[in-house]
Structures are given as C-alpha cells and as structure tokens.
Symmetry: C2
Subunit: 158 residues, 2 copies
C-alpha cells in the first residue's frame, strides 16, 4: 500500500470510521426498535411521527416535516399507512385548502399508552447512564446542525 501521507490515506481511514460508526449505530438502533415496536405495529419512522403527534395532538404535514426534517415524499405514504392502521386522521384544512391536518385518533391515543414502556427498554438496551445518553444526544444534535448548515450553505470554509 502507499505510504500514508497525512493528506489522504489516514484521513480516509478515520472518516471511514466515524461515518460508518454512525451508520452502524443507526441501523443497530433500528434493529432494537424494530423488535420493541413490532407488537405496536409501528416502524421506527412511524414511531417518530407518532411521538410528535402525541406531543402536539394535531399538526399539518408541513409541521411534522419541519420537526423530523422529512419532506412530503417521505411523509405522504407514511401517513397514509398510519391512517390505514387507524392511528391518525388526515383532513384538508378549511382555512387553507393546500394544507392537510393530521390528528391522532382515539386508537392512536390508546397506542400511546402501550408505547410508554418502549423507551425504557431502549434505554436499557444501550447500557448507558442517563447522563451519557444526554451528552451523546447533545453532541449528535450539534453535529447534525452543523452538517445541515454546511449542506444547505454549500461549505463555508473552516
């Protein structure tokens, strides 16, 4: 192999690790959630949507998208599946016919009670103390914010 130069090879190795670790951690989380959410009949992204809806009661599609950073191309079919499952209702807003309001149904509210046990199981699965989880969360949040800014703003230098 070429001798590491400090300009390419070792950076490449390092980057490999951080991005792959993130990728792997996300998929590992997905796997654990998949098991925990199976009996609720939710996928992990559906669970995220239900979390914001449980918190806010009802939101326009756009509002859900802003909170989860997802666009209509992802949300429209996902919400249809949640509606088909009976957990949410969608209806055009009377004030603005362009907007669709998503509301938790009674069945969706009942699901919330069943979901209350999930987070504790997940937290236990991580094997981390609350403080560690919080710290990691804060770092990831800051990292995502930074990356989003760079992505949108086309790379400010340093």
């Amino acid at each position: 192999m070429d001798r590491p130069t400090g300009t390419g090879e070792d950076y490449l190795r390092l980057d490999n690790q951080i991005c792959f670790s993130l990728h792997a951690a996300t998929r590992a989380f997905n796997g654990v959630y998949r098991g925990a959410l199976k009996e609720l009949g939710l996928t992990y992204p559906q669970y995220l949507v239900m979390l914001v809806l449980w918190e806010h009661g009802e939101l326009p599609v756009k509002g859900i998208g802003e909170r989860l950073k997802l666009d209509s191309g992802t949300l429209s079919p996902l919400l249809k599946r949640l509606e088909a499952a009976g957990y949410v209702e969608r209806r055009r807003s009377p004030e603005d016919e362009r907007s669709v309001t998503v509301r938790v149904t009674e069945e969706g509210a009942a699901l919330r009670r069943k979901a209350l046990g999930v987070p504790r199981a997940i937290a236990a699965a991580t094997g981390l103390e609350l403080e560690e989880i919080q710290e990691l969360r804060d770092r990831l949040h800051a990292l995502a914010a930074r990356l989003d800014a760079v992505d949108a703003g086309a790379l400010g230098c340093g």
Copy 2:
C-alpha cells in the same frame, strides 16, 4: 397532559431525543456525502463498499457483508450497479461455486485517487477536531456493538 411519573413520560422524551438525534445526524451526514460523492457517481453506501474493496482489493460478497453488516439483499443489487458503472467485477469463485468474488477494476482504482479528497472535506464539514471525532466514533462503535448484542440475544437484563 398527565403529570410526568418518572416511569414513562420523561424517559419517552429523552429517548425521543437520543434516537432522533442519531437518525438526524445520519441523514445529515448522508446529505453532505451526497454532495461530496456526486462527482464520483457514488452513493454513500456504494462509497462504503468501495472503501472496503480499496482496502482489500478483492473480497467475496460475504466478506463485504460482514465488514459493513449488510446482507445479500442489500449488496446484490448495489454491487450490480457498481459493476454496471465499471468500478468492480464480479465472478463466481472457481474453488466454491457458491461464492462470488468482487474485485476492483482499473477504473475503480482510478476512482480511489479521485476519492482521496473526500474525507478531508467531510471532516472539515463536521467542524470537529480529530480527537473529538475519534471519541465520538468510539462511543458510537461501543453503542452499536451493545445494541447489536442485545438485538441478537433478545435482551439480557441489566
């Protein structure tokens, strides 16, 4: 709203944050990589596959899957696309006709040289020092390992 009990509500909020932060950070990374890899004609998962192939020269599909924790359902079509792009070759192993060996082509090797600049750009985009990146990577690695173990082993207590 129900008063937080310490058993459900606040855990739920916390878990929301950690899992969502991870989710959001991964997608933010994907977005930045998407931009950086566009001129190479690679997606981010394709880039990961090329990284392990650049490192090992040639590997069976199974070997790639072990390193990236991906199964044939994901890798088969992805490798076909990489082959169609001319970056890899696939051929049945003569010793074991069940196995398919994936090898980097000359064009794939040339791509590597073009890819050398990518990691530095990504590292810069994170706005983190190398030490911070390493620490975060280690934590995520440990977290993923823990979650994978729990997932496979169906939840040991504690």
